[in-house]
């Protein structure tokens, strides 16, 4: 990966947020006016278990430097019983797969964020943007 100076690098990050928890947590971060970097663009999905591996690959293919998935806390918060577990399994697999493609697996992150965790959402967004900044732009070609 790139070792050059990434100080002015503004990463592009796509965040898949589940409707019930993470998206509401992000809304709460807004209501609480908790600032975080504007690099993250949200996409609302019904459940973290809805996030297809193809979505992640598509995002990287279209130029994303990082992909975030936010779901409901395990074990019992998922509105659809087990979607968060499905997301977790897929995420574990995806990390291995990305490494094989030569993409640092730190470029994807999965977090459980409840509707009451606005503070956590803002904190995680800050951390993730910092992390991706350190990794530099993703060069897929």
């Amino acid at each position: 990966m790139s070792n050059r100076d990434n100080e002015n690098f503004e990463p592009k990050i796509v965040a898949f947020l589940c409707k019930w928890c993470a998206y509401s947590g992000a809304d709460l971060a807004g209501v609480s006016r908790l600032e975080y970097p504007p690099n993250v663009i949200p996409i609302l999905v019904p459940c973290s278990g809805k996030v297809d591996m193809q979505f992640i690959l598509k995002a990287f293919k279209e130029g994303a430097d990082g992909v975030f998935i936010g779901g409901c806390h395990t074990p019992n918060d998922c509105h659809y019983i087990s979607g968060n577990y499905k997301a977790l399994k897929r995420f574990t697999l995806m990390r291995k797969y990305l490494e094989q493609l030569g993409i640092n697996s730190k470029r994807i992150r999965l977090e459980w964020i409840s509707a009451t965790e606005g503070v956590k959402f803002a904190k995680v967004m800050k951390e993730f943007v910092e992390e991706i900044k350190k990794l530099g732009p993703l060069q897929t070609r």
Binding site: A29, E35, G63, N76
Partner: protein
């Protein structure tokens, strides 16, 4: 992704939200940028889109510009999605052709750099336009409701729920496994903290069930199959034979007198015997005798036939047989109750070995005026009145080796037990061994105080490590953890406050009803605080101790809560279901059944090698869509192509 789209005419409405958005996002710039989208034919901004003039502006634009979709760039969809969908619907747009771009909570409120925030707002709005042009116009799925409620379990929870639903004018089918309704509460002597006689407050309700024109009661019956979905369940019930016609039985008891078979009575927890033809307790409903086919001498008049001969009412029918029948109901309430922790698991207290070590339910029978000793407290071994009794709390509960949870009711019923003992044996001594006293409830703490202070019951904080018998006395080895002293206490009777556990059959019921249980086998509610009696299967509700340990007052409240939920459902002429559900492209489906296995709601069935979605059961989570290897199954209006185009718009 350039897919073929019908010619869309999109209108975009960017809200200032006063200064909430406009202070950080350059709304004019957003309008200018989005106007360049090929599908956008109209874009404008306004100070407050949600206001009456704002909504009027949207409606006017829809008509004037013949818009086919609209995007409102404003606050989060949970705030005003409904407002804007309603407004655009009034102007002739389909409900699902209006989408919200959240540029407030997730943009203007969390960023301060105007240039970057504006850029982000533009991306969010673009991606929303990409989504909405691919949204299909949808109508809610309508279905009728069978105005009948099934209740499984005839304890106090099932009884209360049945009466509430029936009083509201709906038909109720109450199914009870045992020969009588009444459940555990019927076994109790008195109830805490008011010391109401349990039977006195329960039996009128049981009679009300029997007499209610809207309730059909099936005892000795079990639900063996549940098919269908909310509003339209098809239930299969198996009714075992009673061998006595309740219509004819006049409760004379002549049959019982001549029956040659005696077995321990389940109702009296083996402290008394009953015959093979018996009535569980005098106030049983249905008010009828029943033959226990396991112990009756073969139900064969050649072998015995004494009871049929003695029965002047001709109520006995040895040829009675099992019936299996179906019922159609709109709602289901599960109230299967609890068991107590098995005595075999607690070796150290000598239960089963020493006859004078009894469990809490046996004690209830022992002090009950209708119990085996007629309300006098006598030891099972020699019938003497015990001059000292030790009550041990948390037997099984709060113990990592047994049940990790607190059974919630034992502190209170043990205090009640001790008090009842003091009422019956005023000169006796009662000891209570406890870990902590948990008396959170109306009047509960006061009750405990009364037992300790007015009745002088000796409370010892500590666990009993061993019990053994010596010269007809039970010796308890324990330590008082407050003083640090080791104790050797000699008593006449030991009562174990057994923990509450889920009924063994709960898991079977869970499989039949397709609802989850927790790791202890209690039914799981959707949300512990906000949806405490609903299950993840729409139209199926749970109440009482089958959901977790609780006392009678909580059980009754929950039962009424489930009744309210069932009535809410049954009162609807039609019910509507969100049309954002999965749909299958049969040409792509390979019939691999992966979707069927991942669906948490059992909504997908592969028929003739093609997956079929039950739209009513589908909750729209999209688990199947991300698992499908051929992209044959898609979630309406959240299709893969929509997500792809949104990703493209964000990263362009």
């Amino acid at each position: 992704m350039k897919d073929k789209l019908p010619k869309e005419r999109v209108g975009v409405f960017v809200c200032h939200c006063g200064r909430n958005i406009a202070a950080t996002v350059d709304v004019k710039k957003v309008v200018e940028a989005i106007s360049k989208h090929p599908s956008v034919v109209y874009a404008t901004d306004y100070k407050y889109m949600c206001s009456e003039p704002g909504q009027a502006l949207i409606k006017k634009a829809i008509k004037e510009h013949r818009l086919t979709s609209v995007v409102i760039a404003a606050c989060t969809p949970s705030m005003h999605e409904e407002t804007f969908r309603k407004a655009s619907n009034e102007a002739g747009l389909n409900w699902y052709k209006c989408e919200i771009a959240n540029i407030r909570e997730q943009c203007s409120w969390v960023h301060s750099d105007m240039e970057k925030a504006t850029e982000k707002a533009i991306k969010i709005t673009f991606s929303t336009v990409e989504k909405v042009i691919r949204n299909a116009p949808l109508e809610p799925i309508k279905m009728s409701v069978k105005r009948k409620c099934l209740i499984i379990g005839g304890g106090i929870a099932g009884i209360q729920a049945a009466l509430d639903v029936a009083d509201a004018g709906y038909e109720v089918i109450l199914v009870e496994k045992l020969p009588t309704i009444g459940g555990r509460m019927a076994q109790l002597a008195e109830t805490f903290p008011t010391l109401d006689c349990a039977q006195c407050i329960l039996t009128p309700k049981m009679v009300a069930v029997a007499r209610h024109p809207n309730i059909r009661l099936y005892t000795l019956s079990e639900v063996v199959k549940i098919e269908g979905f909310v509003g339209n369940f098809k239930v299969t019930i198996r009714k075992k034979p009673r061998y006595v016609d309740p219509e004819k039985c006049i409760l004379c008891g002549d049959c019982e007198k001549v029956c040659p078979v005696s077995v321990p009575s389940e109702f009296d927890r083996n402290l008394k015997e009953r015959k093979a033809i018996y009535i569980p307790f005098p106030q049983a409903i249905p008010a009828s005798y029943v033959i226990d086919p396991q112990t009756c001498l073969g139900l064969n008049p050649i072998i015995c036939g004494e009871c049929a001969e003695a029965c002047e009412a001709n109520a006995i029918n040895y040829d009675d047989s099992e019936e299996i029948f179906e019922e159609e109901v709109g709602a289901i309430i599960i109230a299967t109750g609890y068991d107590i922790y098995p005595k075999e698991n607690i070796g150290e207290y000598g239960y089963g070995k020493y006859i004078d070590v009894i469990d809490s339910l046996q004690y209830e029978r022992l002090v009950s005026s209708t119990g085996p000793t007629g309300g006098e407290i006598r030891r099972p071994s020699d019938g003497r009145i015990p001059k000292s009794v030790a009550f041990i709390q948390c037997v099984g509960s709060r113990d990592v080796n047994h049940l990790e949870y607190c059974s919630k009711i034992c502190c209170m019923y043990t205090a009640k037990h001790a008090l009842m003992y003091k009422h019956l044996v005023p000169d006796g001594t009662a000891y209570v061994f406890y870990i902590d006293i948990r008396a959170a409830g109306k009047g509960y703490e006061e009750f405990i105080k009364r037992v300790q202070e007015e009745y002088g019951v000796v409370y010892i904080r500590g666990r009993v490590s061993r019990i053994y018998e010596e010269n007809g006395k039970l010796i308890l080895q324990a330590s008082d953890t407050l003083t640090g002293e080791k104790l050797n206490l000699s008593v006449d009777l030991v009562v174990l406050a057994m923990g509450m556990i889920a009924k063994k059959g709960n898991r079977d019921v869970a499989n039949i009803a397709k609802i989850p249980v927790d790791s202890w086998g209690f039914f799981k509610e959707v949300h512990p605080k906000l949806r405490p009696v609903e299950t993840s299967t729409n139209g199926i509700f749970v109440c009482g101790a089958c959901q977790g340990p609780k006392d009678i007052s909580e059980t009754v409240s929950q039962a009424s809560a489930t009744a309210a939920k069932a009535i809410e459902l049954l009162s609807k002429v039609e019910i509507y279901h969100e049309p954002i559900v999965a749909e299958v492209n049969p040409e792509l489906c390979s019939g691999c059944k992966i979707c069927e296995t991942v669906c948490p709601f059992g909504a997908i069935k592969v028929v003739d090698k093609i997956a079929q979605v039950n739209e009513i059961l589908c909750e729209g989570c999209g688990s199947c869509t991300s698992a499908c290897p051929t992209e044959a199954i898609q979630l309406r209006n959240v299709k893969d192509e929509q997500i792809y185009s949104m990703i493209e718009a964000i990263l362009r």
